[in-house]
């Protein structure tokens, strides 16, 4: 019994120390600021929320978002808007550190694109296991949308 308590106590100490040390998780999810202030802040940590308030921006436009660096490489997304809707997304300036990341891009980017087109900026989910890429993708889109509306 004493042994079990010792082990449990030590485990709790180790657990607490790692959680305390790295406590607030590094920005795991993407919380994109909405283009219009009416967007509710999502409750989930890593749900990417983009909002395109139809009508506030141009009906038809194209913009390239900023180049986003993430741990495996960098990318920028070109956003095509037609009739107040996002109709196309293209990854530009993709650079990856290694062959693995390139493969991961090929696997992840089409999924992200489908998500954004379907969600039309209401809510897109980051891809589990490809958080950093999802983040970079979403940030770049946000950047592009910001350009269209506020500049």
């Amino acid at each position: 019994m004493k042994r079990i308590l010792t082990l449990l106590g030590a485990t709790a100490a180790g657990f607490t120390s790692v959680v305390a040390l790295y406590g607030s998780p590094t920005k795991t999810g993407v919380l994109l600021k909405a283009a219009t202030p009416t967007t509710a802040v999502p409750t989930g940590g890593s749900t990417t929320t983009t909002t395109i308030a139809t009508g506030t921006g141009p009906a038809n436009a194209t913009a390239v978002g900023p180049v986003e660096n993430y741990s495996y490489g960098q990318l920028a997304v070109k956003v095509v808007i037609a009739g107040h809707r996002i109709v196309d997304l293209r990854v530009q300036g993709l650079q990856t550190l290694d062959a693995y990341s390139t493969q991961l891009e090929q696997y992840v980017v089409p999924i992200l694109k489908t998500e954004v087109l379907k969600a039309q900026g209401i809510r897109i989910n980051a891809i589990t296991g490809a958080t950093y890429t999802s983040e970079a993708y979403a940030y770049s889109i946000q950047g592009a949308l910001d350009k269209l509306r506020f500049k």
Binding site: A10, G45, S46, A126
Partner: protein
């Protein structure tokens, strides 16, 4: 005194005078504090590992598609691999650890942890495949192909998983007992290959390690330390000691039915820090036998330049040993074992030996002080299975103790009858050596007689 020397029959070098006093050995007394220190270190490590998925982003994605499976899979992978790390550390048989947990303790923990290690790692593989399949919205089987093709180091990791599962299946008692010990041991060695193969995918893909250089370095260092312990104590030290002592067989003496003593001659045996009751892993360097190591008890403290081990012939190997040529070189690993006078907690001791267990009792007796009044019980199924008994009696007589010889099968001489022989049993340390069945029964008898657990010491001979 003559019955206590084990010089080879045709020795030309006369026996050097030898004291029967207790000699010093490096096998120091284990203490409770060090046991708790081991528990605390192991516990903190487990806590750190379990905390990682909470802070590396895996937890915050738990509500996403595949997020829960991803979180559980990450956690089980980390926990399982951490258990594997502990198992490697234990398998290194670092002397400090052996003293703290005891040879039996290390083996026991190794066996207790093994199913968790393999189970958690297998769960990790299944859960993460499901997680990625859910995340990519495709079938689990299709995802297996994607994972193997797309992700780096996944092919080696899958091979490693296969090896681990295979070893896990082979370790199931029903399978293991049907396999020759040597083959099982070789299969077991593959685990190290599996752990090395799996390492790359951990640090390249694990969300706890990618982008967390501190964690990655700590993990790598922990594994390097475990590997260093392993290489030092399982390879380096044995090679060093083997070269230093240059042991070779000088005589093989029949002691009784199926029992032989092998007498070895070597250099600098006074520098071999062995305590009575300990054993070594021995390799007889013949073309047929060199690759297998066998645990045989040193049945008497070294009498430089000689050392004696006594073996009961049960397997093919031990029968073959009776015909080993004189001059054969011998490699040793050890000494191991906590069945020594250093484990003693009380003033007086009773030593109970079943069959071949007498070998450990014989050498342990030498470490007991004079006038320590030991009680020794030698138990055997028949008279010709009672060996080394004369030596034991003489050592006991020197220490003003009593020897009981009990011959007969289990029904004729039940364990309870031993308790009746020793009126002050509850006040003594109890050392029991023999087959696992014998030791279990003896320990139960001692506990019933009121001997506390910390004063019961066991040495199990796997037959």
């Amino acid at each position: 005194m003559d019955s206590l020397t084990f010089y080879p029959r045709e020795s030309t070098s006369g026996p050097r005078s030898r004291e029967l006093e207790t000699r010093t050995s490096s096998a120091r007394r284990p203490n409770a504090a060090s046991f708790y220190a081991v528990l605390v270190v192991a516990g903190i490590g487990l806590g750190l590992v379990l905390g990682l998925p909470l802070v590396d982003g895996t937890w915050s994605e738990v509500h996403l598609q595949g997020g829960l499976a991803m979180f559980l899979g990450s956690t089980s992978g980390l926990a399982g691999t951490y258990a594997a790390l502990l198992m490697v550390v234990m398998a290194s048989r670092a002397p400090a650890l052996e003293r703290t947990l005891g040879q039996d303790g290390v083996l026991l923990w190794h066996r207790r942890l093994a199913p968790w290690t393999i189970g958690l790692i297998a769960a990790h593989a299944v859960l993460l495949t499901v997680a990625y399949a859910q995340s990519a919205k495709q079938g689990v089987w299709a995802e297996v192909g994607v994972l193997l093709r797309t992700f780096p180091n996944m092919v080696t990791a899958t091979v490693a998983l296969g090896i681990m599962v295979l070893i896990g299946l082979a370790s199931i008692r029903a399978v293991r007992t049907r396999m020759p010990r040597e083959r099982w041991w070789l299969l077991h060695l593959l685990m190290y290959a599996a752990l090395i193969l799996a390492f790359a995918h951990e640090v390249v893909l694990g969300p706890s390690f990618v982008r967390h250089p501190v964690v990655r370095i700590a993990w790598t260092v922990a594994w390097l330390l475990a590997a260093a312990l392993m290489l030092t104590y399982r390879v380096g030290v044995p090679v060093y000691r083997t070269r230093r002592h240059r042991l070779r067989v000088v005589d093989v003496v029949a002691e009784g039915r199926d029992v032989v003593s092998v007498i070895l001659e070597g250099r600098e045996l006074d520098r071999l820090a062995i305590a009575g009751g300990q054993f070594c892993e021995w390799r007889f360097l013949t073309p047929r036998m060199w690759w297998q190591a066998h645990p045989f008890t040193v049945s008497g403290l070294p009498q430089p330049p000689y050392l004696r081990l006594t073996v009961k012939g049960v397997g093919d190997f031990t029968r073959e040993l009776a015909n080993i040529p004189v001059g054969t070189r011998v490699a040793l690993e050890g000494p191991y074992g906590a069945f020594t006078v250093h484990a003693q907690r009380r003033r007086n001791a009773v030593l109970i030996a079943g069959g071949v267990g007498v070998t450990a009792v014989r050498s342990l007796l030498e470490d007991l002080p004079l006038k320590s009044r030991p009680i020794v019980v030698l138990r055997a199924a028949s008279e010709d299975e009672l060996f080394l008994a004369d030596e034991v009696e003489e050592l006991v007589r020197h220490r003003k103790g009593v020897t009981h010889r009990l011959v007969g099968n289990r029904d004729e001489v039940p364990m309870a009858s031993i308790a009746r022989l020793i009126p002050d049993l509850a006040k003594r340390d109890v050392f029991i050596s023999g087959s696992s069945h014998f030791v279990r029964a003896g320990a139960a008898m001692a506990r019933e007689a009121g001997v506390p657990a910390h004063a019961v010491h066991q040495e199990v001979y796997a037959l």
